[in-house]
Symmetry: C2
């Protein structure tokens, strides 16, 4: 697949919508189990990942696949889908509307396309080949976007256990790292503080951020996150921040260990 043959937006969004419909069929009617790392998983996560495996392979048979629940398929060339069938499983189990389906497409370490879909809210955040959309509306670059409401930070629900964050405004914690990161990409949140990030949490959001002049960086040293290394490397070494270079700097300046 050359860059000219990147998946088109409508096809990506259709697969995400289909995955969301499968998840919704389980929503508020599913019993969770614990994975070895103590995080939650449900029959919904597995059913959605199975659907993504089938539908992505049917449409883009040459592209590889890496999924949170174990899907792994080598592709031809460097392209690989990296999917989280339900990002925010804990929010899903709790009946919150903020979980999402995340489908990223990496070309080596480079995020070249992605969609984050919130089935309950009916939202699609999509990027393809350096452009990004929210529900079909093109997203402006972050430096060009105005802020209508209260600026806020989004943060992982466990940051209070290890960090003190002297952020001067509101801090929300909505239940999904992928959602948090795309809220930054559309300029609703100024920055995001993401905990225990795995590559499937952020692969799609990274394509959105890339398209609007944002990025993902390590909290500790501010270095950009290498998604290929994250995919290889198991557990991340530290928390990840999402924002523009300016808001990442502002956030890193007000975070310290407790």
């Amino acid at each position: 697949m050359s860059v000219a043959a990147l998946p088109d937006r409508a096809a990506l969004e259709a697969v995400a919508t289909c995955a969301g419909a499968v998840a919704l069929a389980h929503f508020r009617a599913v019993a969770p189990e614990r994975k070895p790392d103590a995080s939650l998983v449900t029959a919904a996560d597995r059913a959605v990942e199975a659907l993504l495996d089938r539908e992505l392979a049917a449409r883009w048979p040459d592209v590889g696949l890496l999924g949170e629940e174990g899907a792994a398929r080598a592709g031809r060339g460097g392209l690989r889908f990296v999917v989280d069938p339900i990002d925010g499983t804990s929010a899903f189990v709790a009946g919150l509307p903020t979980w999402c389906v995340s489908i990223g497409l990496l070309d080596g370490a480079r995020p070249v396309a992605g969609v984050v879909h919130l089935p309950v809210a009916g939202e699609h955040y999509t990027a393809v080949g350096g452009r990004a959309w929210w529900n079909g509306r093109p997203l402006p670059r972050l430096e060009d976007a105005g802020t209508a409401g209260d600026p806020f930070l989004v943060a992982d629900s466990s940051v209070h256990l290890g960090l003190r964050v002297d952020w001067p405004g509101k801090i929300r914690s909505l239940g999904s790292a992928a959602y948090h990161a795309v809220l930054v990409a559309r300029g609703a949140a100024q920055a995001a503080l993401l905990g225990r990030v795995r590559v499937w949490d952020v692969a799609a959001a990274a394509a959105l951020l890339d398209a609007v002049g944002g990025l993902l960086a390590w909290l500790d040293d501010g270095a950009p996150v290498d998604l290929e290394a994250l995919a290889r490397g198991g557990r991340p070494r530290d928390l990840v921040v999402a924002g523009t270079p300016a808001t990442i700097g502002a956030l890193r300046a007000v975070v310290r260990p407790r």
Copy 2:
């Protein structure tokens, strides 16, 4: 209106659904303004409150009304609707799915009915005469409810500015005090830490909590919140906690000034 003549659940939910539809017509297409207290307000808040004023008066003409955006109508006897047309206006303006319509019914200080409706998520949390429902499903008393997923605290988005909260689990901040409080009533959240509470934020949720063995209490001394005094008294003296007596005690024990 005697207790026997409390509004029935379907009628209350119908008014809330209608209000939610008016709000949805403005959602993601409205410009915010600042109120004198610097909080946000939109044309949607005013349109929804006007609708609530009309529809509640048409159905229950003897019942008074107090609304966040200025609606005030004396009733006959001690019954009064206390409404927040959009609780979580800041979340509404930001395009988040967690804002809600809140309609409480107070008999003096006692919350006797209420509905909290999340239009984007399609949820109704309703209480009438000591019973409570979530989307039509009866809610058990909190001491009888099991916890399937990760227990979590919900907290106002500004608590980090004044408090250190050594809560051992997840802390979420979803954008609406009324939603936070009803998440406690349905057993999804263990407790809520609510900031700058006005009576319209919690009148409906108080009826839900009351029905399931929960309550609202002041953070500082643990005393139950008197809704009639809150309605008279302007700004609250302190933060409010929602939970069972046990979870309120556990939360008060881990909160301290920064």
